[in-house]
């Protein structure tokens, strides 16, 4: 599970990296978009071929080389991927993403010291790079569990211990997120960076690290007070492809407001007829469970931020955001991924998952 989380952080880097292409001529940008489309479809060999061709014309191009590194990673050509990203860090030491992805690969190889070094470089070049902070936190947690294994002579690589450790990581992801503050990243090196990774985000406070004992199928969302981060500002591909993005944002705001107001009927109305219940249970059972949770006594305060919309078609999109939830007894932040579909002119939730 953690591995895929890291890979998602790589994928996120594609999004930011895509932003680079905003500065490149349109033709090249389109090639790059094609490549990442091929990647998304899992056609790695074709994507790689296209990238190689692209790089013939622009051998120094950071964006192309970055994509090549990603494709190689996806194809499990780890050594080559490491070499691509390493050379990128040498040629473009001011870019944090190659360092970050190097770190993810090292982490997969359990070379946590190397991973840590790479992330520290990413942060040194770009102190506000939230992904690197997140990954670094993850690396520390993994190094910690290695040390704990040694200390307590347990083996977290066996299944049962793994679950324990995965739970710790969940807590970690829920408890502290480094501040991504664009304003303190204004060093000359980073100022030229085309990627301001994110608009200034509200500081997420570390939550009480309280274990969440019950699996929450659907996390509550959105406090209207919290600013909802707009979809990443420079993701040309996305905004061009769909006007659904802002509609989806509004829908989710409303969905979350219903949740916050404990309006069960309203809340449930945002789920599509063919909504896939998390445990595969019957719709009625799921609804009754949600209703029970929503109506528990005490205030709920929820917000979402960092909404990313990836359209798959005109009527279907994958949505990703950070969800902050606070009730009397629980305070969490987590990554939420939803598949939204447009039915009868309304965007509705068809799938809802945590952390993937």
């Amino acid at each position: 599970m953690t591995e895929s989380r890291s890979l998602i952080r790589i994928a996120l880097s594609v999004v930011t990296a895509l932003a680079l292409c905003a500065l490149t001529p349109q033709a090249f940008a389109e090639t790059l978009q094609d490549i990442s489309k091929l990647m998304k479809q899992g056609q790695h060999a074709q994507a790689l071929e296209k990238t190689e061709k692209y790089l013939v014309g622009k051998p120094k191009d950071a964006q192309g080389r970055f994509l090549k590194g990603l494709i190689l990673t996806e194809m499990n050509h780890t050594a080559e991927a490491i070499s691509v990203f390493t050379r990128l860090t040498e040629d473009y030491p001011e870019l944090p993403e190659p360092y970050n992805n190097l770190a993810v690969i090292y982490a997969q190889q359990k070379q946590y010291d190397k991973a840590k070094q790479a992330l520290e470089m990413a942060i040194r070049t770009h102190p506000s790079y939230a992904t690197a902070h997140e990954n670094l936190g993850d690396i520390y947690a993994r190094m910690a569990s290695q040390a704990y294994d040694k200390a307590l002579q347990i083996d977290s690589s066996n299944a049962s211990a793994q679950t324990k450790l995965a739970m710790i990581r969940d807590l970690m992801s829920a408890s502290s997120r480094p501040v991504a503050n664009a304003s303190n990243a204004a060093s000359p090196a980073t100022a030229t960076k085309p990627v301001a990774a994110a608009p200034a985000q509200p500081e997420t406070k570390p939550a009480e690290a309280k274990p969440e004992s019950k699996p929450e199928p659907a996390k509550p969302v959105v406090a209207s007070t919290a600013p909802v981060a707009a979809p990443a500002p420079v993701v040309a591909a996305e905004s061009k492809a769909s006007a659904g993005g802002s509609e989806i944002g509004k829908t989710l705001e409303a969905w979350a407001t219903a949740w916050s107001k404990k309006n069960v009927k309203g809340y449930l109305s945002y789920y599509a007829r063919d909504f896939q219940t998390p445990g595969g249970e019957a719709r009625a059972a799921w609804e009754s469970e949600r209703s029970k949770r929503l109506t528990k006594p005490g205030n709920i305060l929820v917000s979402i931020e960092g909404l990313h919309v990836t359209p798959e078609s005109a009527d279907r999109a994958t949505v990703r955001f950070r969800q902050h939830y606070r009730s009397a007894s629980l305070k969490t932040s987590s990554t939420k991924v939803m598949v939204m579909v447009r039915q009868d002119g309304r965007w509705l939730i068809q799938q809802e998952r945590v952390g993937k």
Binding site: G137, Y148, K150, A151, L152, Q153, L171, E203, A209
Partner: protein, 400 residues
């Protein structure tokens, strides 16, 4: 935000852990402490944590883990310090569903090690137990189970001189062994009786084992049984075990056992195990020692004097030895005494080792050279002297 988290950590790690540990700076008077072993760095790690310098603390603990890769405690602290970088941590050992007993054990070990490091024995004091070593006893071992510490002393022309001290584990269920299998460590005066090399042992015993003389004469007289109390090492994947971990043995880290073993003389090196060492200034130690020496000398000359009653006056009414009580012993001495026209007695190589505990008792061992008109013999003799109403009396006497 970061600051709060750090304070949180310091509180979590330090709270309770250092309670009862005099945090006072190390007494310069006690600077003779040997700085081998992990304690100096471990103490620095906790100092840095107390001062919220977690980055330095992590560096220190990493060097500790590098030096002692199987040091579980250091790994645990390392885990905490790493985890503290990504989330607030709540306690000592922040791993969900961690075995609670293991965490408690490591916590105990941390406390024991820090205490022993910070509360070093005063420089001009010696363990009361080492009243007198014989000239060829090069070293003596004194164990403090409450401190989880073993102290090695060298015999420097009759005066015990501190050499080194080591962290140790003792019985799971504590001390004052009475029965076989009670998982307790005996308290008393013993000596090393043998050496079992690593090759003859399972990995569990680490780099070697040194059996000691439990049960001794006094233990047997008091009905204590069991056997196989050893000083031994640790398994290859374990640098040290918790303070209370063994079935009664005294367990040292392998490197410590190796260092110690160079100094051990089989059949000779005393191993005195106490709950809590009593320390004496050299002056007081000298006074105790000469007072007892005087008594022993009196006993010797009273025996030579042929006055059996004066001689018997040195024996307790509770005397008991090899099946004889005081009356039987007395009758036999009177009978033997009647046939004597002269006795010459020499006591050589006297060692006097005080038994830990409330009983004011000293184990005296010497080479006895006995000559008389009708019988002569040379033997190693052992006596247990105990104070009764302010007078030293012999409780037990037999071959040593």
């Amino acid at each position: 935000m970061r600051m709060t988290r750090r304070l949180h950590l310091a509180a979590a790690l330090i709270a309770g852990l250092l309670i009862g540990v005099a945090a006072a700076a190390v007494d310069s008077n006690a600077a003779r402490y040997s700085d081998s072993g992990p304690e100096p760095i471990l103490a620095r790690v906790f100092e840095q944590i107390e001062q919220n310098r977690l980055d330095i603390a992590l560096k220190e603990v990493e060097s500790l883990v590098k030096a002692y890769p199987n040091f579980h405690l250091a790994n645990l602290i390392k885990g905490d310090l790493l985890l503290a970088r990504s989330r607030p941590i709540q306690a000592f050992g922040n791993i969900a569903n961690a075995p609670k007993d293991k965490l408690a054990d490591l916590r105990e070990e941390a406390i024991a090690r820090l205490k022993a490091y910070r509360e070093k024995p005063p420089a001009d004091y010696v363990p009361r137990y080492l009243l007198q070593m014989r000239a060829d006893q090069n070293f003596a071992i004194v164990v403090d189970t409450q401190k989880s510490r073993l102290y090695l002393y060298q015999n420097e022309k009759g005066t015990p001189r501190f050499v080194a001290d080591y962290y140790i584990s003792h019985g799971k269920l504590g001390t004052d062994k009475v029965r076989e299998g009670d998982k307790k460590t005996p308290i008393g005066v013993y000596h090393v009786t043998g050496s079992l090399p690593r090759q003859k042992l399972g990995d569990f015993y680490g780099s070697g084992a040194f059996p000691i003389s439990y049960p001794n004469e006094w233990d047997k007289r008091n009905g204590r049984n069991g056997h196989g109390i050893w000083l031994h090492g640790t398994p290859s994947d374990t640098f040290s075990r918790p303070p209370k971990a063994s079935d009664g043995c005294v367990v040292l880290a392998n490197q410590d056992l190796d260092a110690l073993s160079k100094n051990l003389q089989i059949g000779l090196t005393p191993v005195i195990i106490s709950n809590s060492i009593e320390w004496l200034s050299l002056d007081d130690w000298q006074a105790e020692r000469s007072a007892l020496n005087k008594q022993i000398e009196q006993w010797r000359s009273d025996w030579e004097s042929l006055n059996v009653d004066r001689y018997l006056n040195h024996y307790s009414k509770k005397f008991y030895s090899d099946g004889q009580n005081f009356e039987q012993w007395s009758a036999r001495k009177h009978q033997v005494g009647s046939g004597k026209s002269w006795i010459k007695l020499a006591t050589n190589n006297i060692s006097m080792l005080r038994n830990p505990g409330k009983e004011d008792m000293v184990v005296v061992t010497f080479d006895q050279d006995y000559r008389s008109n009708n019988l002569s013999n040379v033997m190693k003799k052992r006596q247990y002297w105990q104070k009764e109403d302010g007078q030293w009396k012999i409780m037990y006497e037999g071959a040593g």
